[in-house]
């Protein structure tokens, strides 16, 4: 096993353990903190793929901004574990079945896709994740989807301001 392999397995184990802890933590604040660790592990994976820009943006946007807002809301609402209503067994069972079906479907799709069969990820190589190639690609080949998504963001912002004014 090379260093990259070791790092890959360590990061993966870290991500899976943290993700499991998000689910099984009784305290919502703990869940949020574990979720932040999941984002860090995923950023580590991005760095292994030499996608530095993606890694750092993942941390800035998700771990830095969105999770702060999550924490903010949970602290303001002061959710306690006792106050949370217990869900019925039937609802829990439905959730497990639905989630399990989705997982099976996703795995099946990934296994069937011809494009990624018999191919290995190039670790620590490739330049697509660096800021120059990414910027060039976004502003030339994908400029229309990029602009459309920024319009989407703008409308979300306008909506938030309007809701905030009420």
């Amino acid at each position: 096993m090379s260093t990259v392999d070791i790092l890959f397995y360590l990061l993966s184990a870290f991500a899976i353990v943290s993700a499991t802890m998000v689910l099984i933590s009784k305290n919502p604040i703990h869940s949020v903190l574990w979720l932040i660790l999941v984002f860090f592990a995923i950023s580590g994976h991005y760095i292994l793929l030499n996608a530095q820009f993606l890694a750092i943006v993942n941390i800035i946007v998700y771990a830095g901004a969105i999770m702060v807002l999550f924490l903010f809301v949970i602290m303001l609402m002061n959710i306690k574990k006792d106050a949370e209503p217990q869900k019925q067994l039937l609802v829990k069972l439905t959730g497990v079945i639905a989630g399990g079906s989705l997982l099976t479907l996703l795995i099946a799709v990934v296994k069937q896709t011809a494009q990624i069969q018999n191919k290995q990820v190039l670790l620590k190589e490739g330049t697509i994740g660096l800021i120059h190639p990414l910027g060039k690609a976004l502003f030339s080949d994908y400029v229309i989807p990029f602009e459309i998504s920024s319009v989407l963001f703008l409308s979300a912002m306008v909506g938030a301001v309007i809701i905030g004014k009420k």
């Binding site: 820009f53 830095g64 901004a65």
Partner: protein, 364 residues
């Protein structure tokens, strides 16, 4: 064909991993020494920054300040440190114990992490090796700083919440909303700088200023002003120290903390100040560039030492500015803070962005 492709990729993969496995131990040792020097150096400077703060406050208020421990009171920070460590450590009964301990640690870690991308000087040569006085020259350096800044608020939020005290919680919520509001203006000010430098690497930005004629402050005066104000807010310094407004919140997010945990919070603030001074000096004031001095006329090692000294002097000047502001300007009200952030700084930053873009288009 498919098998062949897989094999070539595998071979390539093996080749890469072999080069990774063969560590350059010299590099590892050199980086470890550099990290130790930078971290302990910043801790040492932070120790004496507390002393400087008290002296500056004393001078501005026309009183002698600490002058009993050692000559000119120079041993005062050590006495303070010993006092903090020796004090009884109290964890409140109703506090969330693990998060209560995690809070100060996170605050300290986040403030120390910034030092990884700051270029402290030009390359030096020792034992036939060329050593860069920068822990990591990553090509997304500024974004890294930004990410660490956005992490900094977790220490305060977690500590304030885990204390299980209403005032602490209020304070940590204030800190979070303040940090998020001013991060936007900070980011927009940075984008204008990036448009002129065309690089995200701090090393490249500093080298441009060393080689070029002017420091970036000449091209980005408004951007620097916005960045400086946002840095004051991110460091929770007066006039933006709403999270620890003692007349409204008793003491703020660290009210329940005692002993060295409190010390960590107070220390993290000073380290934040040092790091943001270093970042501002590197981005807008030429970093380790000594003005009107040609570095190529002296030996590279001496030039590097002059550079480190220059950067340290710039950092000290910035820290003095921080303190001067703290002991001159009164604290803002919360609505004033939010109005300044959202209604003044962000429009100004966008205006700065437009002007910069127009000037670049006009090739000025």
């Amino acid at each position: 064909m498919g098998i062949l492709l897989t094999q070539t990729i595998l071979i390539k993969h093996n080749y890469i991993s072999m080069t990774i496995l063969a560590f350059d131990w010299g590099l590892v040792i050199e980086k470890l020494i550099l990290i130790a020097v930078v971290v302990f150096g910043s801790l040492g400077i932070a120790l004496y920054t507390t002393f400087g703060e008290r002296k500056v406050a004393a001078i501005l208020q026309d009183r002698p300040g600490p002058n009993r421990a050692g000559p000119f009171g120079l041993l005062q920070p050590l006495a303070d440190g010993v006092k903090l460590i020796m004090k009884e450590e109290i964890i409140p009964n109703a506090a969330n114990k693990w998060l209560f301990i995690l809070g100060p640690g996170l605050a300290m870690t986040a403030s120390l992490m910034t030092c990884a991308v700051i270029p402290w000087g030009s390359d030096i040569e020792l034992f036939g090796r060329k050593i860069a006085l920068q822990i990591a020259d990553i090509n997304i350096g500024i974004l890294y700083v930004f990410a660490v800044v956005s992490m900094g608020v977790y220490g305060i939020m977690i500590g304030g919440w885990a204390s299980n005290n209403k005032f602490s919680l209020m304070s940590s919520l204030r800190a979070a909303s303040q940090a998020i509001s001013y991060e936007l203006a900070m980011g927009l000010a940075l984008i204008a700088l990036l448009m002129t430098t065309e690089s995200l690497s701090l090393k490249t930005i500093v080298e441009q200023q060393v080689k070029g004629n002017w420091w970036n402050i000449v091209y980005q005066p408004l951007g620097f002003l916005l960045f400086f104000i946002a840095a004051l807010a991110e460091c929770n310094r007066t006039p933006f120290d709403l999270p620890e407004a003692e007349n409204e919140l008793n003491f703020g997010y660290h009210q329940e903390y005692s002993s060295m945990k409190l010390g960590f919070y107070l220390f993290a603030e000073y380290i934040n100040m040092i790091m943001s001074s270093a970042i501002m000096a590197s981005m807008y004031f030429g970093g380790y560039d000594l003005p009107f001095f040609d570095e190529s006329t002296v030996a590279p090692n001496i030039a590097a030492m002059i550079g480190v000294g220059t950067l340290l002097i710039k950092i000290v000047l910035f820290i003095f500015l921080f303190m001067w502001i703290r002991w001159t300007i009164p604290r803002f009200r919360y609505d004033q803070l939010m109005n300044l952030g959202w209604k003044t700084m962000i429009p100004l930053a966008l205006f700065n962005l437009l002007i910069t873009g127009a000037l670049i288009l006009a090739n000025l």
